[in-house]
């Protein structure tokens, strides 16, 4: 009995447990606020609307539909995980990757040209897209390392430059790449060489072809990033630079090298996100006047996941789950962006995680001191 008790108390004291608990609290408060908004907008449908948001695929009665939409939710989670990892890696090196949208856009350009246009094999398209995004992202790193340009600002500027570059090239790219009537790029279909193969996973999810190898790939990438940050010298150097770049330099770690590696890796991951969302045919590039939103969504799920690769899997799933659920409430007279309100409230609240953890720690120390003094009294 005591053993179990001490196991639980040590579990509670662990930093990661605190992160999970506080993240869950943030999510809960965000959902409650979202429900209140639904109540204000349309009280009679609010309860059903909230069930749809939370239930997502579970609200369907037929098991095939459920499986189908479950597969879709999982497949859409994969790019967000990649995006969050992109934010995570640069954050560990002390950089805020606000330029992820731009890196994503550049990868989209490569995928449309080589995938929809030239019909190259999927893995080659994916790798080149990742390399292109990594180079684009390393620009931010170069500017930071050699010219001391604030990475947040250069990232934002590069987002807009990438946006216009991609819009400009794709909208003049010819019929096989650009669908002028709908002003969006031609989607990659399952018959194309550039389509990420399903390896039978589509049958598992009631024939939903967007579920495929990508979902497995991303789990491997999560493990690679986890090992990279935790067990390798490169990861150690990144984190050292992020924590205290002066101390890192004193220990012989090159700041320039760390910054370049971190930005390149995070760019490659943003490119992977583009590949995982375009090369299975469920998204295409739309002519837009603002950079793609996914870059900012990545920030949400990276922080909600407690800045940990494993946590990111769950937070990304959660965000996609309620976003997908949110897209189903249009029939009820609610706009799908309600889910986006919920997620942004959750990110806002996750800013308080540090403070809450600090309070929990203080409370614990106080408790321990009390226990110690009580033990002393007993002995006396």
């Amino acid at each position: 009995m005591n053993k179990i008790k001490s196991f639980f108390s040590s579990l509670i004291k662990k930093d990661s447990t605190k992160t999970v608990v506080t993240s869950l609290w943030c999510a809960l408060i965000g959902l409650i606020l979202g429900f209140l908004i639904l109540l204000v907008i349309n009280p009679s449908n609010a309860a059903y609307g909230m069930t749809s948001v939370l239930g997502n695929y579970l609200i369907f009665s037929s098991p095939t539909d459920r499986l189908n939409y479950f597969g879709q939710t999982l497949a859409k989670t994969a790019p967000l995980i990649a995006m969050s990892l992109s934010i995570l890696v640069s954050y560990k090196a002390g950089l805020f990757n606000l330029g992820a949208s731009g890196q994503y856009s550049i990868a989209v350009l490569v995928i449309c040209l080589l995938g929809a246009g030239a019909n190259w094999p999927w893995y080659i398209v994916m790798i080149i897209a990742m390399i292109a995004a990594a180079i684009w992202s390393a620009l931010t790193g170069l500017l930071k390392a050699f010219f001391n340009v604030n990475e947040v600002i250069s990232g934002i500027m590069l987002n807009w430059i990438a946006l216009y570059l991609v819009n400009g090239i794709l909208s003049n790219a010819g019929e096989s790449i650009w669908d002028g009537a709908h002003s969006e790029s031609v989607a990659i279909t399952s018959s194309s060489n550039s389509f990420i193969p399903s390896i039978g996973l589509d049958k598992l999810f009631a024939g939903n072809s967007i579920a495929g190898l990508g979902m497995i790939l991303i789990l491997i990438v999560v493990i690679i990033i986890f090992i990279l940050l935790k067990k390798t010298t490169v990861g150690y150097e990144l984190k050292a630079t992020g924590l205290n770049s002066d101390a890192a330099r004193y220990a012989g770690i090159s700041k320039v090298k760390s910054i370049l590696i971190a930005t390149a890796i995070s760019g490659a991951l943003a490119g992977l996100a583009a590949s995982l969302s375009l090369q299975n045919g469920f998204t295409s590039w739309r002519l837009s006047s603002v950079p793609p939103e996914i870059g900012f969504q990545g920030i949400s799920s990276a922080f909600l996941g407690g800045l940990h690769p494993i946590g990111i899997i769950f937070s990304s799933y959660f965000i996609i789950h309620i976003t997908e659920g949110g897209s189903m409430i249009t029939d009820l007279g609610f706009s799908p962006e309600t889910a986006s309100i919920m997620t942004s409230v959750i990110i806002y609240l996750s800013g308080f995680v540090f403070f809450i953890k600090e309070v929990m720690r203080k409370y614990e120390i106080k408790n321990e001191l009390n226990m110690l003094s009580r033990n002393k009294e007993n002995k006396v």
Binding site: I41, S300, S344, F354
Partner: protein, 314 residues
């Protein structure tokens, strides 16, 4: 002529919002939420413009709209202040969250009020033709040349802000909180209170900028927020090196290229070059990046920028 007025309006918006950001950053808080504050102020003002009856006289309704934009964006910026000053949250994270939240809130609520029988979920576009005519008057009686008189307010605000930041006790105290909060605190300045005021001022000016931006048009698509203006203002602030006059200069350079991207087709020789319009659209950002390369080498920003003030570290 209209290109000149466009340029002037653009410079005014960027300068006002960047100067707003300056209050926040000079006191030590990163002003990433400018975009969100602009959107939120513009959204509230837009709602008022949408619902205010025609019977209210033009002067009074303009005043109401301006006040709504400023006050609502000010209140919104307090969300940043509470999280980042009192609870020491990560400033970039909270700023990003507030930017997404402002757009999402605006879209959801506007879709709600614009929905009809035929359109169960409305669209996120608000139109306010009457107010376009109130804010954009004929330039000195010239027919067809529209002039947004908010430019005049902006022109008055710039020297006032300059004096406040450099010549008043408040301005100097504000800067000290961003440079060295510990010594400011030891001299009896309430660091957190000063930062709250800095953030509040930045929110209010961003709200004014947001209103200004949407009244340049007779309707606005809120799904695009403030179309990245808040981020641009932040960039102008940084390459203006946190100094009002340089900010004005930076805004002028950027707006010049932005104006070019809108009016290039009416310039004969540029039209003949036949370069894609996307090139001109991207040009302001490229120029901005190049200027940043040359001006960032020396780190001239507030020294304690981005760090929550911790009394225990004194």
């Amino acid at each position: 002529m209209s290109a000149v007025l466009f340029l002037l309006a653009f410079v005014s918006i960027l300068t006002i919002v960047a100067l707003g950001g300056m209050f926040s950053e000079k006191s030590g808080t990163v002003a990433l939420s400018l975009e969100g504050c602009m959107t939120f102020g513009a959204f509230n003002a837009g709602m008022v413009m949408y619902v205010l009856p025609n019977t209210v006289p033009a002067g009074i309704s303009a005043l109401i709209v301006i006040l709504v934009a400023i006050v609502s964006a000010g209140l919104y910026s307090l969300l940043l202040a509470v999280a980042c000053v009192t609870f020491k949250a990560n400033q970039t994270l909270v700023g990003t969250a507030l930017n997404i939240l402002a757009t999402a809130l605006a879209v959801v609520l506007i879709k709600q009020i614009t929905k009809t029988e035929a359109l169960p979920v409305g669209n996120s576009r608000l139109s306010f033709m009457r107010f376009y005519e109130i804010f954009n008057v004929n330039f000195f009686g010239m027919q067809g040349v529209r002039f947004n008189w908010l430019i005049l307010i902006a022109l008055v605000l710039v020297p006032i802000i300059y004096v406040v930041i450099y010549k008043t006790r408040f301005g100097l105290r504000l800067s000290s909180c961003g440079e060295n909060p510990s010594s400011a605190d030891s001299l009896g300045i309430n660091v957190n209170k000063t930062r709250y005021i800095g953030i509040l001022l930045s929110g209010m000016l961003a709200g004014f900028g947001g209103l200004f931006l949407i009244t340049m048009n007779s309707e606005w698509e809120f799904a695009n927020g403030a179309t990245g203006f808040g981020y641009l203002a932040l960039a102008v602030l940084i390459f203006g090196q946190w100094k009002p006059l340089y900010i004005l200069l930076g805004a002028l350079i950027f707006s010049g290229f932005k104006t070019l991207s809108v009016f290039y087709s009416s310039i004969n020789f540029l039209e003949k070059l036949g370069i894609s319009s996307y090139f001109y659209l991207a040009l302001p950002y490229v120029v901005c990046l190049i200027v940043l390369i040359f001006t960032s080498k020396k780190n001239v920003g507030p020294k304690a920028l981005g760090e929550p003030y911790d009394k225990g570290k004194r």
